[in-house]
Symmetry: C2
Subunit: 171 residues, 2 copies
């Protein structure tokens, strides 16, 4: 993905897909690959630490995080939407967590066919410990950036996100 600049008097390298691109095109693709690899690297690291220190998978952690944020409980359909995973997967995750006494199901007072899922006290206690460790990991993983770097990165990503959201809306 390296940009090649051609100059008069030098041997011209064979034209391939990459050299046809302008520098700006290179920049966008390189930046997307960098963004993706950074996110994947950090997510993989968090996933590994959750498994090593708490014996828990990232999807289970994410499910518990949603329940922690919604103390009144969430319906399976809501959980599925928030976690962006299929209903079958959410049912499987919930079954496991229920078996371990970390979540509990309760009949929905409004919709008889549905039920809501909540953290148990044990689930909440475990989640609090995990969230605290998770927070420390994130602080540590991002400590290669100065406070000013973080501010800059936040600003640039906000700008990017706004543009992408706009591009979706006009589709």
């Amino acid at each position: 993905m390296r940009a090649q600049k051609l100059s008069v008097g030098k041997a011209v390298k064979p034209i391939d897909l990459e050299t046809r691109l302008t520098d700006d095109h290179h920049q966008a693709l390189k930046l997307w690959l960098r963004l993706l690899s950074c996110t994947n690297l950090i997510e993989a690291e968090i996933r590994n630490r959750l498994r090593a220190e708490f014996g828990i998978t990232l999807p289970r952690f994410d499910l518990m995080a949603q329940l922690e944020r919604h103390r009144g409980g969430l319906k399976m359909s809501e959980l599925s939407r928030r976690l962006m995973v299929s209903g079958g997967n959410v049912t499987g995750l919930t079954d496991q967590l229920e078996k371990e006494g970390l979540v509990t199901r309760a009949d929905d007072p409004v919709d008889r066919r549905a039920y809501t899922v909540k953290l148990t006290p044990a689930g909440r206690a475990l989640f609090t410990r995990m969230a605290s460790a998770h927070e420390q990991w994130v602080i540590e993983l991002f400590s290669g950036l100065t406070a000013n770097d973080k501010t800059q990165a936040q600003r640039l990503l906000a700008k990017l996100k706004l543009h992408v959201a706009g591009a979706q809306a006009t589709q």
Copy 2:
């Protein structure tokens, strides 16, 4: 995740998990959530466009991209590692693509038990069209950033990636 600053003479808000964090801690967590949401938003958009315009899933596109990069073909184990998905999933993806005439399997000359997967000419032609569209989408999605913004973002993400890779190595 908003930081709350306390000042003398004003009513002190109840202390919760968030207010115990320093601004710097907030910054790291906020930045990680922003990075994750930006990446997911862009990936979802690319996923949707691949489905709408080419009727192809992202994992199938990624598999074809790996084969395009390795013209000599790849073993299933190599494909699985590069795509970071399980062997069973790679077999399923390959079966589908083979049925549509986009990839072909060939016996491995060295390891009789293994076989390599390659793009067919039809697969290569389709991938070229998809890669070109994909490139345009990325350019468009990142066009909310100026060239200078992109350079800054690239630099900050490089710094972050280097630090995270170091944190992994010392674990």
